[in-house]
């Protein structure tokens, strides 16, 4: 997937002017946060659950190697295969090799962010294997050659007309604007694909070390068909998804559904434990798990380790006022919202990703809803520190900061400076009480007035008052 993160500002500008998108974002804002709030209010122990989730994830990350090895052992015992992919390229090549082994023409896919991250679809297509997305949202995006703008509601940026057009152009059926008709149409088209597919690829929400199982959590059921119908099932997942036991998994499932959609539990929770055994009614003949690292092991033990707790629930983006204003595509790469602002620079480099950790007011809403209590603003600040040390911020910002720092460290200079600045602004405003255009503060006065200072600085007025003994 092309990296458009450096164009965040331009993309945000376009997004703010896009009426359809703004309407869609309004719906999102009204939907998920409200549902989450209700689900949380129904569960008095939710806060304790968050603490448990955080602690358990921290424990896992401290012993990541052990749990991954145990998971690998169990998958092999169950008759499956485990592949370790250090980079995105490694992962793509491993998956293509598996497809080639079974001479695959088409593969069906369940929803998976990590396959977006490694750019799997383009890679398979370029190598003669046709991937078919089966999650309704992802399917629509694939028809439109588009990418997800949200991690659990990938097509949230589209409206009904967009979907209707995409279906009409690709299915060659009568155009409909009835969601039920469109849904049925997608079902019929996809059904054939499910049956024809040689390989099914899914992600995994969690990998259970104790049993060697992977689990996918969906509300559509397409994931089940993806992983049970084809002869070969490939699970593509990342290394931090491992959890010690089935019971641990249930803790995260309770946190995940409530944080993501406000459901008590997702509709489908489907476990895969190795290939079909003798006597099994269904299931694939071959079972592969591809464990993707792609920069994650570098985060272990670093100041960004906390980010590996993320369970991809999307609560942070659902509640983020910046995401709510500009939408997921503005972020310019796979992961949007606050979690993307931390993860993206890690994966594409701070040089290209630096816009994102800066595009935050540090309001802290994201951290307050994160089910595993990731200190997202703090991690964004770490990126800013990294940028500062590498002198990556724009010159004007760096010089401005240096000038301010020089004064702020010298109280004797700071006071006359604030007096002067306050006087200049006051004079500029005249009798108005506010300034309509302030040189050097265009960013502010392009959009709002600048209230004028009252007059003297407090320090000045206080000093005079202390001398004369007058009351203000």
């Amino acid at each position: 997937m092309q990296i458009n993160t450096p164009f965040f500002k331009q993309r945000a500008h376009d997004a703010l002017a896009d009426e359809n998108l703004q309407k869609a974002l309004g719906n999102l804002k009204a939907g998920f946060p409200e549902k989450r709030a209700i689900a949380v209010s129904r569960m008095p122990e939710f806060e304790q659950l968050r603490d448990q989730g955080r602690d358990l994830k921290n424990h896992i990350l401290e012993h990541l190697d052990l749990y991954l090895e145990q998971f690998e052992r169990k998958v092999i015992e169950n008759g499956g295969h485990v592949h370790w992919a250090r980079t995105a390229d490694d992962a793509n090549r491993i998956i293509l090799d598996i497809c080639k082994q079974v001479d695959a023409k088409t593969v069906t896919k369940g929803k998976s962010m990590v396959t977006e991250e490694i750019g799997l679809n383009d890679f398979l297509e370029a190598n003669g294997v046709q991937p078919v997305e089966t999650d309704l949202g992802e399917y629509i995006l694939q028809l439109r050659h588009d990418h997800p703008s949200h991690i659990i509601a990938p097509a949230i940026h589209l409206n009904l007309e967009d979907v209707s057009e995409a279906f009409h152009a690709n299915h060659h059926r009568e155009k409909s604007m009835d969601p039920a008709v469109l849904m049925q149409e997608a079902r019929e088209v996809l059904r054939e694909k499910f049956v024809a597919a040689d390989v099914g690829i899914t992600g995994a929400n969690f990998c259970v070390a104790e049993t060697g199982s992977t689990i996918i959590v969906t509300n559509e059921g397409n994931g089940d068909l993806t992983q049970t119908l084809p002869k070969t099932h490939v699970v593509v997942t990342s290394i931090e998804k491992v959890v010690p036991t089935l019971e641990d998994m249930t803790l995260f499932l309770r946190l995940l559904a409530r944080s993501a959609t406000g459901q008590e539990f997702s509709v489908y929770n489907t476990l895969s434990t190795g290939p079909r055994r003798e006597g099994d009614q269904d299931g694939p003949e071959n079972f592969h798990v591809v464990l993707v690292d792609n920069g994650r092991s570098e985060m272990v033990g670093s100041e960004f380790q906390d980010m590996l707790r993320c369970i991809r629930c999307s609560a942070c983006m659902n509640h983020c006022p910046v995401y709510g204003a500009v939408g997921g595509h503005s972020y310019g790469w796979v992961y949007p919202g606050p979690m993307g602002s931390v993860l993206t620079p890690q994966m594409i480099g701070i040089e290209k990703g630096g816009m994102l950790p800066n595009a935050s007011t540090f309001c802290g809403k994201c951290e307050s809803v994160c089910p595993v209590k990731i200190p997202l603003p703090k991690l964004m600040r770490h990126w800013r520190e990294d940028e500062f040390e590498k002198h990556l911020q724009p010159k004007a910002a760096r010089y401005g900061l240096a000038g301010w720092a020089f004064l702020a460290k010298r109280p004797a200079l700071y006071k006359p400076y604030t007096r002067m600045a306050s006087w200049v602004m006051k004079t500029w405003a005249g009798k108005n009480g506010r300034i309509k255009k302030l040189p050097l503060a265009g960013g502010w006065t392009d959009w709002r007035d600048m209230p004028a200072p009252q007059g003297k600085t407090f320090m000045q007025a206080w000093k005079e008052q202390q001398k004369t003994g007058e009351q203000p």
């Binding site: 945000a12 007011t361 309001c363 702020a408 460290k409 503060a441 959009w447 709002r448 600048m450 200072p453």
Partner: protein
């Protein structure tokens, strides 16, 4: 003369925006502290809390300013300021130093005795000692309250300003939709991403004007300047004020962004 009280010595953290834009907020804070029986002083060596450096990733400058502030407020029983954001920054100081640094313990100590003003009045002084004073005040307006992010999420300020406000005669509090959503100020954010900031503050002014409030109150001048500036640009009639002006009975001053006000004449 301000009454010299035998109560606790409190160092006033003035905050840059109060100092430069709205001294009346700092004066109101002093008045409230003295009414609460404290002896308020203004340490001269203070400048800024260091938040611009901290949030720009400049660790060294942050530490330099933190040391300066810790020194300036040495020896005061409490440190109080009219801003959840700046006091919240003082609470970050321990993160700025390694535990082996001699300033680390002092930073922890400063954190334990520094308070945002409404939290200080409500949580430390206690409503019982304030009620009588507050009940003598009159502010005959419907108001709405914006919860600023740092105060709310870092310092847990939610009920304190509302409880204090409810004591004032005539005040009617009408909550706006999404009172807890960021107004888009965010320090340098509003300058770095003015267009996104504008969208956020526009949402805010819409929620404000959806109420019947005459005044929007808040505990942070940054947010208030942002909201007042947008309300004015949109030609809306809602006034913006810092809550301490109401609590100290100092509402004869023009509201934020309203016509000329010359502090010199008031002194």
């Amino acid at each position: 003369m301000p009454n010299i009280s035998s109560g606790p010595r409190v160092g006033l953290f003035v905050t840059c925006l109060a100092d430069m834009f709205r001294p009346s907020v700092a004066f109101a804070t002093v008045k409230l502290l003295e009414q609460a029986g404290c002896h308020a002083e203004v340490p001269k060596r203070q400048t800024c809390c260091g938040q611009p450096a901290f949030n720009s990733g400049d660790r060294k400058t942050t530490a330099d300013i933190a040391r300066q502030t810790i020194d300036a407020f040495d020896g005061y029983e409490y440190v109080v300021g009219p801003s959840g954001s700046c006091i919240g920054m003082l609470h970050y100081y321990p993160e700025v130093f390694a535990p082996s640094d001699s300033y680390y313990q002092r930073a922890l100590d400063l954190k334990s005795r520094s308070f945002e003003i409404t939290s200080f009045l409500f949580d430390v002084i206690g409503m019982d000692s304030l009620q009588e004073q507050l009940q003598q005040l009159q502010f005959n307006h419907k108001v709405t309250y914006h919860d600023s992010c740092s105060g709310l999420r870092q310092l847990g300020i939610k009920q304190q300003p509302r409880q204090l406000l409810q004591q004032v005669q005539g005040v009617e509090l009408e909550e706006m939709e999404e009172a807890e959503t960021c107004c888009g100020f965010g320090g340098t954010f509003c300058v770095k991403y003015p267009e996104i900031s504008n969208r956020m503050v526009s949402n805010k002014t819409e929620f404000i004007s959806n109420t019947d409030a005459h005044t929007v109150l808040g505990g942070d001048l940054g947010c208030l300047l942002n909201m007042a500036g947008k309300l004015k640009r949109e030609g809306k009639q809602v006034e913006a004020r810092h809550i301490v002006e109401v609590l100290a009975g100092m509402t004869d001053t023009p509201a934020i962004g309203e016509a000329d006000y010359d502090l010199a004449q008031q002194l």
